[in-house]
């Protein structure tokens, strides 16, 4: 079997190998809002959007070494005033906050691009006055937060199947 596969691969010129390229304009339902926590002066009116698509891969769906999805993420903001001191640092974290990755910093045009390897994840932008690229978790205040679209999918445990209420808006 391995021999046949080797033969087949050898028969395809490397230059002609198909590479799946992500749609440069992913569907808008891949987008998710980025909202201000209104805790840092100058950032209250800020709005933003996160865009997600699969990272380029010859196999259609890109996977990280551990088998999780590898996603390209673009963040952009409007009406976000850069603080006079410190940097706006982008973090990705799982919804349970049990894993956190420092992804980078916003550039001067208030944009960020990077990769994340979780299906469901949160985007956290913090103001770090003493930026440490090796930091494992934020220390500064949270300026912006966002949740990937897939984060809205969740277990129905303890949740009636025909409930009309949004789970995140419990009534009294």
């Amino acid at each position: 079997m391995i021999g046949l596969l080797t033969l087949a691969l050898a028969a395809v010129p490397a230059a002609d190998s198909p590479t799946c390229v992500a749609d440069p304009e992913p569907p808008t339902y891949y987008d998710f809002p980025l909202v201000s926590t209104r805790r840092v002066p100058g950032t209250g009116p800020a709005t933003g959007v996160g865009r997600v698509t699969f990272a380029a891969s010859p196999f259609g769906v890109a996977l990280a070494a551990d088998g999780s999805y590898l996603l390209d993420v673009w963040l952009s903001f409007e009406r976000l005033r850069l603080p006079p001191e410190g940097e706006l640092v982008v973090w990705f974290t799982t919804p349970a906050l049990d894993r956190v990755v420092r992804a980078g910093t916003l550039d001067e045009t208030l944009r960020f691009s990077g990769q994340v390897r979780w299906n469901k994840f949160l985007v956290v932008v913090t103001l770090e006055t003493d930026p440490d690229p090796s930091a494992e978790v934020w220390r500064g205040p949270i300026v912006i937060r966002g949740m990937s679209r897939s984060g809205m999918m969740h277990t129905m445990a303890g949740h009636g199947p025909f409930e009309k209420e949004n789970c995140a808006s419990f009534g009294y």
Binding site: L97, L122, I142, T155, A157, H159, A168, F170, G171
Partner: protein, 447 residues
């Protein structure tokens, strides 16, 4: 058809009380309260729709109120405010407990809050509900040791109660000193039962074994909401029968259980098939356990008053008709209540603090009121959900405290009400207030 039935029910319930209750509100911006209510103090706590339920400590030398904070309007803190009432005219926030990374926790946050005393220490239980998609969706409550108040630096977190199998947190909680001497926490969960936790185990570090019992919703009950079997409950001792009784509102209506033996809760009375009630809410008995005040959570719904005697006497097993009803304003909705017989203290959402008397249970009479919220109904959430959310009464001196979803914490005195002891009214001295330092109750004949 169901809608017609609801309408007919609301109408009939209101007719029951028409003679006793004004049909429209009497309070206004210029005169928000009745003459027999004195506003002692008021402290705003933050933005609109950020305040939920509250609890008042009962000992005069511990003048503290605990106020749940949430983000019902989308923005807001998520935790508990500890308020110093040593000067009731100037409620002052002593301490703010907040969930870590509260900006990443999805609403709502803090909902109900209770306190208890165990082995000489004082604790607060803050119920929590966080939406899925963020952290701690399965976290139901946090327990704080508040023994060292007013020194806020001594407040410390001692335990968290999480339920991964029934995620969604605890919407409501009730604390009760059982006749076995155990301090029990009853919680709503998203399942067809209420959970019962032993607080002794929880605060001693044995959180994994703190869940010791469940009180079920009777089989066959219909009409759930958000998957919760119960929405609310009260637990009280019944001296006449020397039993511990659970009064729960939720799926299909209301239920009374004998929970003296926590391993085998015994259903005593069901209240189902009530016109206009698919899902019960707050459900509180009179001190002697004969009458119950039952809330349903929709606009136009009055508080219904039921007489349990036919069921407690064994004549019937189910009760489906109220003997009377009370509403502050038929256009609105009333919420939680505290019974200090014959008075019922109500947090009436848009109608503020309301007090009515059940001296004649078939003819409830409004005796006092003060509207703490003069704003409009909601337009972004359910229209009735704003204004007074929680109410509590200090039995020792009659201090009345309410929490308002948008205007904060208020303290009141009601003329002629300087405290409450049931025996002064010819009923057992039983209310939501627990007697932490008293021995286990015994039947009168044994004393």
């Amino acid at each position: 058809m169901r809608a017609l039935r609801f309408a007919a029910t609301a109408a009939s319930a209101l007719v029951l009380s028409t003679a006793a209750v004004p049909l429209t509100a009497q309070w206004s911006a210029a005169k928000p309260g009745s003459d027999n209510i004195e506003v002692l103090g008021h402290t705003p706590l933050g933005g609109r729709l950020t305040v939920a339920d509250m609890e008042l400590e009962q000992e005069l030398d511990r003048p503290y109120a605990y106020v749940a904070r949430n983000a019902y309007g989308g923005l807001g803190p998520k935790g508990t405010d500890i308020v110093d009432l040593s000067d009731p005219e100037k409620p002052a926030v002593l301490y703010e407990w907040r969930i870590e990374n509260q900006d990443l926790h999805l609403p709502n946050g803090g909902m109900d809050v209770k306190y208890f005393k165990l082995d000489g220490r004082y604790y607060v239980v803050q119920s929590l509900q966080f939406g899925q998609g963020g952290p701690n969706h399965d976290l139901g409550a946090v327990i704080l040791d508040v023994t060292g108040l007013p020194d806020a630096s001594t407040v410390r977190e001692v335990a968290r109660l999480s339920e991964p199998d029934v995620p969604g947190g605890f919407h409501n909680i009730f604390i009760y000193k059982h006749s076995t001497g155990k301090i029990l926490l009853f919680t709503t969960v998203r399942g067809p039962y209420a959970h019962v936790y032993d607080m002794g185990r929880a605060v001693s570090g044995d959180v994994d074994n703190a869940l010791i019992a469940r009180v079920p919703v009777p089989t066959g009950a219909e009409g759930s909401r958000s998957g919760r079997g119960y929405h609310d409950f009260y637990v009280g001792y019944h001296p006449e029968t020397a039993t511990d009784r659970f009064y729960g509102g939720g799926t299909g209506g209301y239920y009374v259980y004998d929970i003296t033996d926590l391993d085998t809760p015994e259903i005593l009375v069901t209240l189902t098939g009530i016109d206009g009630v698919r899902y019960g809410h707050t459900f509180t008995p009179s001190a002697d356990g004969r009458y119950v005040i039952a809330e349903t959570e929709y606009r136009y719904a009055p508080l219904r008053i039921f007489d349990l005697k036919p069921a407690l006497d064994g004549e019937v097993s189910n009760i489906d008709e109220p003997i009377s009803a009370w509403t502050a304003d038929w256009k609105n909705l009333t919420h939680n209540h505290e019974v200090r017989w014959p008075y019922v203290f109500v947090s009436g959402y848009l109608d503020g603090l309301q007090v009515f008397s059940l001296m004649d249970p078939e003819n409830p009479v409004t005796v006092a009121y003060y509207d703490t919220y003069l704003g409009p109904p909601n337009t972004d959430r359910y229209s009735m959900f704003n204004g007074t959310f929680g109410v509590d009464v200090r039995n020792e001196d009659g201090l009345i405290v309410v929490s308002d979803m948008s205007t904060g914490i208020w303290t009141f005195r009601m003329e002629g009400f300087q405290g409450w002891n049931g025996e002064q009214w010819g009923v057992p001295d039983v209310s939501s207030v627990q007697k932490w330092d008293e021995d286990i109750r015994r039947p009168v004949s044994d004393q």
